[in-house]
Symmetry: C2
Subunit: 772 residues, 2 copies
């Protein structure tokens, strides 16, 4: 863990004092976003020190030509990269021919603050130039949660010891590049620039795929709160427009520029309307005015928090961290657009390129299911529904037939982007997570119509894939699934990974029940679907039933644990404690073959299955498997600890659960892995939420009923979280003595605690003593 340089505060992230070494980390941590776009906490003014300029627009990507050492048949041609886009925040400041640049001036009283409650980034500092001139600067900015194509900046300058000329130059710059480009090329080609007094637009398009993006700016200047009439000079070059405003400033007075940006993309508008629409957004924003824009933005954030906040008493660092996580998840994905998804780094960095991994279904969906309207989660599911055709094509490319679907490991538009055979072709359990997400959504929402409208087709494609992916082993007299990589990527190309086999047989089995449900409840739609998908009901269902009954599930008879894969017991079984500190993390110190043949587990694998199917296993089974696998798990993925926290909580291993929770709780805030400068671990933030709510809070769904089985960490006084549960909103408090559930909505809710099912009417609260 790096030295902690940020203040602990319940609702804010605060950086006090200027240290350029922390800047790139802060650029990630203080990122803002509104689901439609995101912006790293780069400075508005010029900065010649180390920086990762980053402005991202959801869904706009670039197919970067694949880089590979040894090509394998079936590899994709490109890797979809999250695309660094127009710099809309830029405001150059020049004082007596000196550029304001924090790498060049003497900085004092630097403070950067991210107000998570209201979604507002602010910064203040004093700067002393070489010639002794001093200014005070105060800035604020946000990306409107209400008008999601608008960003607004308030940038104030106060000369502290001089009167004189100050040049303020707001600009838009599209001459940006991705640091992670495979072949060091720029991805944007210029289309058009327009500039006039107090406004400008710039449009560019991606060199492949023809995404067009327009950015427009408007701005106004105030002196001590009074509008200033401006006579700006305009500037224009390829991919760049600017206005240059000369102000005669007086010592002690404050001059504020409010810059409004409108950003539009060809995902939402015809190319010919892009630039004018962007300008409309910016000019509407200016007409509305900074304060009013900010007000409605703040209100929208408070609304989000009202159904999602978590309060931890007795641990301020944990309190800050969990809000940080919730905040960034909402900044990344708001659920209004089913073409969008959740990239591992959200809008905070470039790494990992393509945006969607199975993280979405396995880790993020539970968060959105519990904290947002049903529609948000439904859009996450529809995202995959829209990609079904590509998933079928992908499976065809790998030799599968008859509508079998294999969803990609990493994707933007439904096509596979990854190119390591052991992952791309073999980490097929991702398909299972997509099927499970449908089940999870339906048991949460009871929106069974979803199955008829969309769900069945996806389940069918995936079940068909599993049915073709297994083969009959004469030797075992069982179906087997050869050559897979499970969630534990520290084993590759193994046979009969329990988790994958379980996901396969469960998917087929769930699809069977869905067929029965559709036949009974949606007969017409079902008939349509059968036709559309060429579903050979009898033959296919019989085949699935046969596979379900005869699929090999590896078990250690002696220990009575599920086996990660057929060969697992041949390994040298050791506890991770036996590793020397100098060898960890093993992925940085061991060669790959050594990792592969070791027993060490990167992230929950068998335990991931027990988490998903907790309702099918008793606690003794969970405990036996946890006791066997946890000691061998090295948790070298940020996604790893959460599942262990939840299971440990379930079997009463409170201390272990808390120890594991600490590994991710402040992963980014405390930069455990020294990689925060590259961006935040957005999807693992959802894992931390799961740890708190499903682990310590003990929230779970069994047979479509909500359960609580809490286990409060020793050093927390209390835990309080808010949940949406179907029509209701529940505020749940756990302290040392009681579980208190308050229904803050008008709808009745039901939940199970211990042996009892509780009905809780709207506006009511119930206090239940925890078992001793």
């Amino acid at each position: 863990m790096e030295q902690r340089y940020l203040e602990i505060d319940e609702w804010k992230i605060i950086e006090e004092g200027w240290d350029s070494n922390n800047h790139m980390k802060s650029e990630s941590i203080f990122s803002i976003g509104n689901g439609r776009m995101g912006q790293r906490a780069n400075f508005e003014e010029a900065y010649s020190g180390d920086t990762l300029q980053g402005s991202y627009i959801a869904g706009v990507y670039y197919p970067d030509k694949t880089k590979v050492g040894w090509w394998k048949n079936g590899y994709p041609e490109y890797f979809a990269k999250v695309l660094n886009s127009v710099n809309w925040i830029g405001i150059d400041i020049e004082i007596a021919e000196q550029s304001l640049d924090l790498a060049q001036v003497k900085v004092s009283n630097f403070r950067r603050e991210l107000d998570m409650q209201h979604g507002l980034l602010s910064r203040s500092f004093s700067a002393e130039f070489a010639d002794g001139k001093k200014v005070k600067v105060e800035t604020q900015r946000f990306l409107s949660l209400v008008k999601d194509e608008v960003g607004a900046i308030s940038y104030s300058i106060t000369p502290l010891n001089f009167d004189g000329k100050v040049i303020i130059k707001p600009y838009l710059d599209f001459d940006v590049e991705n640091h992670d480009a495979n072949w060091e090329e720029k991805f944007w080609a210029p289309v058009d620039e327009k500039v006039a007094a107090q406004k400008g637009t710039v449009t560019a398009k991606t060199k492949k795929l023809d995404f067009h993006v327009s950015a427009a700016m408007r701005f106004e200047v105030f002196a001590q709160g009074e509008h200033v009439t401006l006579y700006p000079e305009t500037e224009q070059r390829e991919k760049y427009v600017a206005n240059s405003v000369e102000l005669q400033m007086e010592q002690g007075k404050t001059y504020t520029i409010c810059k409004y940006a409108g950003i539009t993309s060809s995902m939402n508008y015809a190319v010919e309307k892009l630039s004018t629409t962007a300008d409309e957004r910016a000019s509407q924003a200016m007409r509305t005015g900074y304060d009013k824009l900010l007000e409605e933005h703040k209100a929208a954030w408070l609304e989000k928090w009202s159904t999602s906040d978590i309060v931890i008493e007795g641990d301020a660092a944990a309190q800050q961290a969990i809000r940080f996580n919730i905040f960034h998840l909402f900044q990344t994905f708001t659920g209004v657009d089913p073409r969008l998804n959740i990239g591992p780094k959200g809008f905070t960095g470039e790494k990992y390129g393509g945006s969607t991994y199975w993280d979405t279904e396995a880790y993020c969906l539970p968060f959105y299911l519990s904290t947002t309207q049903q529609e948000v989660s439904r859009n996450l599911l529809i995202y995959r529904y829209k990609h079904l055709g590509k998933a079928i094509e992908n499976a065809q490319k790998l030799g599968f037939k008859n509508g079998a679907a294999l969803y990609p490991m990493v994707t933007m538009n439904g096509e596979e982007c990854h190119n390591e055979w052991e992952i791309t072709f073999e980490e097929i359990h991702r398909n299972g997570a997509i099927a499970y997400a449908i089940f999870n959504y339906v048991r949460h929402t009871l929106d069974r119509d979803y199955l008829a409208d969309y769900g069945f087709e996806v389940l069918l494609g995936i079940s068909r894939f599993w049915a073709q992916r297994v083969n009959w082993s004469e030797a075992k007299g069982k179906y087997v699934m050869l050559g897979v990589t499970g969630p534990n990527e520290y084993e590759n190309n193994v046979n009969n990974n329990y988790y994958t086999n379980k996901m396969a047989s469960w998917t087929m089995s769930y699809t069977l029940t869905v067929v029965d449900y559709l036949k009974e409840n949606h007969a017409d739609r079902y008939a349509e679907l059968v036709k559309k998908t060429n579903f050979d009901e009898k033959a296919e269902m019989e085949e699935w039933a046969d596979i379900i009954s005869n699929l090999h599930i590896p078990i250690d008879e002696e220990r009575q644990v599920l086996l990660q894969q057929d060969g697992f017991l041949d390994k040298d079984l050791r506890s991770a404690d036996s590793l020397d500190a100098s060898e960890r993390p093993i992925n940085q110190h061991w060669s790959w073959d050594r990792i592969l043949r070791s027993c060490f587990i990167k992230q929950a694998d068998v335990l991931q299955g027990l988490y998903f199917f907790e309702h099918q296993y008793d606690k003794a089974t969970i405990r036996r498997n946890f006791d066997f696998y946890e000691p061998m798990t090295v948790h070298e993925s940020s996604l790893s600890p959460c599942v262990h926290v939840i299971l440990a909580s379930r079997i009463g291993y409170g201390e272990k659960a808390y120890e594991l929770y600490l590994r991710t709780a402040r992963l980014d805030l405390d930069d455990y892995n020294r990689e925060v400068h590259e961006g935040l671990h957005i999807t693992s933030m959802a894992g931390t939420w799961m740890s708190v709510v499903q682990g310590f809070g003990g929230m779970k769904i069994i047979k479509e009923k909500l359960h609580f089985e809490p286990l409060l960490p020793e050093n927390w006084d209390s835990l309080n979280f808010t949940l949406r549960w179907r029509e209701a909103v529940l505020n749940v408090s756990i302290d040392k003595k009681n579980l208190t559930v308050e229904n803050t909505s008008e709808s009745t809710a039901e939940f199970v605690f211990g042996p009892h099912t509780n009905q809780l009417k709207g506006g009511k609260k119930i206090v239940l003593p925890l078992a001793p």
Copy 2:
């Protein structure tokens, strides 16, 4: 198979008629080499059509920065590339301001011929220019087998229908590039150019590693055989020197330029002497004269053939092919320098970069053992001895200790060049081939001193590797070897590959016997070695013995066949015949995961073990395993069929053996895989030799005795081959009736045929009837 465009001839490769589509193939096929350098059959004069200019100097390579998609810990930083080097053959011809360029003139009577008996490339054609002028051209060239830094060219022009000015411009050009460069950079930096009348030198160095190479040229011109006094103009630029000679030619007279090149490298000379030495070589060659140089070169080739020729009666295509293979093997490696080795494409192309694979030990060594002096094979072994230190470092990098050695999969200087984890880290059986080569060498030559001088250290390093690479499986109560790739690269990361486990236990067991031998016969040297290697005799030998006795060897009890790996029987076991023609080769039509989980075998794996250890298995075992594995083998490696041919011959499957033999016999001459333009398959040529001599000829060594167990293909009248066997040279003939062995040397030889051991004195011949 491509349409055959080459003539069948016993000793020659002949191309009649000009078709530019065949040129790049011919450039490979007609390549010349002398072990020290090699040259593709590029034209001397300018050629603007498709060509792969290729001139290679043994041992001079370039560490090209590794290209990889997903870096794995332990990958090497670079891939050593065989380096395209100075173009020394160039002679530009200009007639009335028209360049002689076969892509621009009308060509008739084109003939290209490679005389394999004498190592001579020649070419003749007539060219008609746009202005109607016609010339006849006749060229010859060779790389001297006697003076291995010298190349010589005779280039004759006869004006057919005009008198006039012809400009002849011999040059040296170092501005060359590798087509397979990872990052499209040129590898050579200029050092120095010198030019004067009738001579020139150019020196360049590699941008990394500082290899320096100098080329010098001298030339003389004859008119109708009479020396012409020349007044050339000189030309010089970076990496290039030339002489321009203007000749007034008369119709019907023949003008010949003899160009002599000397090429030296910093592997053999101090950099400051490089250029002068090269010039000395060239000027000595000119003093000697073309005809005399050629004469001694031819004699050297005849000498090589005297102990290695194979005569096949009744099959002219097979006759040509086997000589083609022997010829290219000798062109690639002559065995005079233990720093050199045999690249998969020799000096005929660039692909596969680094020069040494396990091909050398497994396929090439048997050829050189049987056809050349002992020293040649010994040098191949010493090559690996010299790399032992790097092999130990390589193993350390992967976590091994105490002098364990892992030889690289691909190398130039002993360092690993390959970067695919499943090969680099897991295809460790290569280590076994290097140990086996020592055993093979000793049983051939009885040079047991080699064990004391070099062999033991290598065996110790490899045995130590195996001992650390296995682990104890509690579940099996056996040692196991997890996570390997066997010779069949269509399975990756498997457990207990029979071949690898067998090689491991055999290596340890052989090392134990070598220790005993050394203790008894080389006590002092042994004591020295124990000290040098920190050999803990008792503990290490006990550990090996324990592993040998308890190493898991997978067997199918029911079928009584050895298993390729633990999970093999879980596969869908099908015959390759069941594949549709459109799916083959599967490596071009199937995705990698599908190949991996299929039962299809790229090349001999279990059968490779049965070939190496034929003396340990009875014929029934060989037959059972052959019957099981051959039908699943797709032979998608040029190295595959030979082992199957040998085993099929041994178990009396004559038809099968011949069918398999046909797959490689004319692989390059008939361009089966449409890739000959990239270079020839040099190492698999040794496999074809093995097929003929060890397969049909039935030559084998059991307990240090020479055996013959021939099985002549039905459509061959007879097979005759010459072998060195220790001090003797044996000429072996097999026809439909008899095995005839003639001892053409002065030393007595012994061989076993059927139940009888035959003593054959020098100069004697014995005729033994084949069993009915």
